[in-house]
Amino acid sequence: MINLELPKHLQDLQTLLRQFSNDGLRPLSRKYDDLEPKELPEELGPLSELLAAGRKQRSANNSAADNTDAESPAVRNGTNLGTVVGAAELCWGDPALFLAMPAIGLGNAAVEAVATPEQKQQWGELYAAMAITEPGCGSDSAAIRTTATLDGDEWVINGEKIFVTDGYRCKQVVVWASLDTELGKAAIKSFLVPKGTPGMTVTRVEHKLGMRASDTAQIVFDNCRVPRANLLGDPEIAKTAEARKKAFGGVMQTFDNTRPAVAAQGIGTARAALDITEALLRERGVELAYNREYAQLSALENDLYDLETEYEGARLLVLKAAWMADNRLPNSKNASMCKAKAGRMVNTVTLKCVEICGQLGYSKTELLEKLARDSKIIDIYEGTQQIQQLIVARQVLGKSSSELK
């Protein structure tokens, strides 16, 4: 039955996280944006544990409400929907602090998916960064030049990675490297490298436009050796063209699943900017009533309604993509659609809110200018606007990547 409201257990989650964001994150926003610390903001450790504890308790109390595990129910509102709802609420608090929270990233997910219990035990507390991008490759993951060569029972890794979120603060790095650069995508594998492994050096921590509470590192691998078992997943290189495509497709699918979650960062960040703007304007007598005709509106109202429209459209696209994943419907197209739309939406919304609020919007007195800085990367990382459009285009038009480049 068509219903686009969130179920009670997710509304409860929103309420809880909204409070957490408001009381826990917002008070730290300006401080860590100014500091741009290399180290993890000290409050984030305890806050993350609080979140994790809450998650554990909720899943104990509410397993009936979160019906993912129920026996083939007609429709599921499960982990994926919960993830996007949660990410949005925490980014409403602060997108940079959300990004900086330990162990929420792709790296952990990649390890959790394939590591054996013994490995996890051996590797210790998991706080893994994901190292993919290289100076010569942006969205073109297949162009990776970092290599891994088997020498006895160890992989020897050489190469340079940039834009590694958590790269400085993490305890492990999951690094993408090629077993044979001649063989293209199929030869790309991921390896877990614990911090402190000789040959792995963090050579720089970036200074950034936004997301400054989070660390973004450059990491060099110089004959860095890890045990053979640290290759995550299947060590074989696919032999046939078909198998190669499939192997890389598997790697890329990790992104399909995370794109709605990244898009959700845009949802929460945009909502924060709209809420601040609307509150400031309410003090000046501007109230959105959602009932007047265009010709009766002020420019401010009209523009805010436009932003609300873009916001709500993006939000529902994100919920749909997550809902499809929960219900095992193929969602690659929708995942990219929602990332593309949310990425451009959050940039438009936050920049326009700064403009609408004039001097105050541009000033550091309010968080609007910060949100407009944080927002920009959401349209870039985990696949730029342009890459998402390519993915959607190929699916809508039924094209291969050689036909539509």
Binding site: M1, V75, R292, A295, Y305, G313, L317, Q389, V396, K399
Partner: protein
């Protein structure tokens, strides 16, 4: 409670109705749309075929001669999407009587319902229409220029309405007017209240096969029973119109997308299908993306309305999105076809003209 889950699956009933409507659209509507637009007239027999489908019969209570399914905004939205994918003008014509019925179900009293439902669900299609629009450049349905004045037991209506479907052929017309600083609605029965009532045909950029009229009310006297009960709420009415407009836009845009995709894949320029170019492909991506967003925004509004929740914001945003992106999809459709989009051999130019009507459709149809 399973009903409270986020869900995008139509019910089985809805799915069955959709299948039926889609067959009707493919067999009856789409093939006749172009010719009807050229002729500026509905295809002969179309309204009777619509009547056979029984849309107007469904929501009416059983004791008033209907199927008793009740008010179902979500089902209405699915119906409107599907009909508009066939043709927007024909869809509005088909839905105008249902809109009067929907309005009476929400705001009419038992006597009004009885009187109207009996006639509209008789043995053939009987035209009925809303008269919410007024002519001019800046108008406000929340403060109409048309006035109602108490006179004895009844009311005198004075003013001019615009975009009244079927005009003099409409048996019932639902008119809004300003009464004591508030907006009131009146049910006008053209069999009885003809004194002072006149119609002039109107012509528009699009919606050409839909007969539209300007209606002049010159001291038209209505009995007290013509007024919709005090439960009437203009904001509520406008919300239902916004949802209807967005649904009609969604259907029309779906037709554009479905027509455009095979063309850009087949059309060759500079040695390759034009869809191999990012500028073309990404235009199609934007179409597909905003079409999904348009539908979701409106489904949310319709579901809220159906659940009795406040749908003001969702309906407002749905219609804004549909107005903006509906027109964008309309003009991009022509653009993708180039010169071929500009000629009347293809339906693109018709969709372009019709999609400019989206901001006005809420005055003609209610979800």
């Amino acid at each position: 409670m399973s009903a409270a889950l986020f869900d995008l699956t139509p019910t089985e009933d809805q799915q069955m109705t959709q299948d039926m409507v889609r067959r009707f659209v493919a067999d009856v509507m789409a093939p006749q749309a172009r010719a009807a637009d050229e002729a500026a007239a509905l295809p002969a027999g179309f309204l009777d075929q619509v009547f056979e489908l029984g849309f107007s019969f469904m929501p009416v209570p059983e004791d008033l001669g209907g199927a008793g399914e009740g008010r179902r905004p979500v089902s209405n939205v699915l119906l409107m999407e599907n009909l508009a994918a066939g043709d927007l003008s024909m869809a509005v014509a088909a839905l105008a009587p249902l809109s009067v019925i929907n309005c009476l179900l929400d705001y009419g009293n038992r006597a009004q319902q009885e009187r109207v439902f009996r006639v509209l669900n008789g043995s053939a299609f009987v035209p009925a229409a809303l008269a919410l629009h007024e002519p001019g450049v800046i108008t406000d349905p929340r403060a109409p220029a048309t006035t109602a004045t108490k006179a004895g037991d009844g009311y005198v209506l004075q003013g001019t309405k615009s975009m009244v479907a079927f005009g003099p052929d409409a048996r019932f017309i639902l008119v809004t007017a300003l009464l004591d600083d508030g907006v009131a609605a009146f049910l006008l029965d053209t069999d009885n209240e003809t004194e002072g009532l006149s119609f002039q045909p109107e012509q528009y950029m699009g919606l050409r096969s839909l007969p539209l009229f300007q209606m002049t009310l010159d001291k038209v006297l209505l009995p007290a029973t013509a007024r919709l009960d005090e439960g009437f709420c203009i904001d509520g009415l406008l919300q239902r119109g916004r949802i209807a407009a967005a649904a009609l836009a969604t259907g029309t845009c779906q037709a554009v997308l479905d027509y455009v995709v095979p063309y850009v894949n087949e059309r060759v320029a500079f040695g390759e299908p034009i869809s191999n170019r990012q500028a073309v492909a990404f235009m199609v991506v934007d179409m597909a993306t905003e079409l999904e967003a348009m539908q979701l925004l409106n489904w949310r509004a319709a579901a809220q309305l159906e659940q009795g929740a406040d749908c003001a914001r969702a309906a407002y945003l749905a219609q804004r999105h549909a107005s903006k992106y509906g027109m964008k999809i309309g003009t991009d459709g022509v653009q993708l076809f180039g010169g071929h989009g500009f000629i009347r051999e293809h339906p693109l130019e018709m969709w372009y003209r019709n999609l400019r009507a989206v901001p006005l459709l809420g005055g003609l149809v209610l979800a």
